[in-house]
């Protein structure tokens, strides 16, 4: 049969049923003591962190095996997207992910150059046209991007 044990608030040891005292202070804080010795120390306002036989002291001074005290922390490994998205199938995503940085840089530069050319052409067109009524009909820019898209532009993921 498993017995529920309490933990002593002063020494950190287990309190089995039938032992110890629970002391409820006027501010409704409850303290559990495993023995009269511990109760006496508490009443005389000793700091458990200064008594070498208490758990608090041992934890503070890192006594005992570290394996017990240290908890294993499992870090979440964030994997890349493994699902296909509406605009790009899984193959395209993998392709983009595995692109070498040089290829990406080259693609980025190409896109930048393209945008610059487009802007230059637009400027030239504006200058040559004398008046908006008499001049060439100017097309509205069709959803052009002000910045070059990264990674050479993911197919279909443009916003």
């Amino acid at each position: 049969m498993v017995v529920k044990t309490e933990v002593c608030t002063f020494s950190g040891s287990r309190i089995y049923p039938g032992h110890g005292i629970t002391y409820v202070r006027l501010d409704n804080k409850a303290f559990k003591f495993v023995s009269a010795k511990v109760k006496c120390y508490f009443q005389h306002r000793w700091n458990p962190r200064k008594l070498a036989w208490t758990q608090m002291y041992r934890r503070l001074h890192k006594k005992g095996t570290l394996e017990e005290t240290q908890k294993k922390r499992t870090r979440k490994i964030v994997k890349g997207a493994n699902k296909a998205v509406v605009g790009a199938s899984l193959d395209i995503i993998k392709q983009k992910r595995n692109q070498k940085p040089e290829v990406r840089a080259a693609a980025r530069e190409a896109a930048l150059r393209e945008v610059k050319e487009r802007n230059r052409a637009k400027q030239a067109a504006k200058k040559t046209a004398p008046k908006p009524s008499g001049g060439k009909p100017m097309d509205k820019p069709m959803g052009k991007q002000p910045k070059a898209p990264k990674g050479g532009g993911k197919g279909g993921m443009r916003r």
Partner: protein
């Protein structure tokens, strides 16, 4: 261990602050523990409430400085009566 002439702090909002125990109910008992009913006289009270000073009232003991032993072995001690 509450007995006659013991001052007790009142835990509810009836208006009384302290009462003096004058009798313990139950056949000729000398000591009252937690859960016992006592008769007391209100010694200090908040003004303009139901209960006034020098009213004779019944009260239940809820906290004692003396240790309360429970059948499962738990012992509890409070800071006031």
């Amino acid at each position: 261990m509450v007995q006659v002439q013991t001052y007790l702090n009142v835990a509810d909002n009836s208006g009384a602050k302290t009462i003096l125990c004058i009798r313990i109910l139950g056949s000729s008992r000398k000591i009252a523990k937690t859960g016992d009913v006592i008769i007391g006289v209100v010694k200090t009270a908040i003004p303009n409430m139901n209960v006034k000073r020098s009213d004779v009232v019944r009260a239940v003991v809820v906290r004692t400085k003396k240790v309360i032993q429970r059948p499962d072995g738990l012992a509890v001690r409070f800071d006031d009566n």
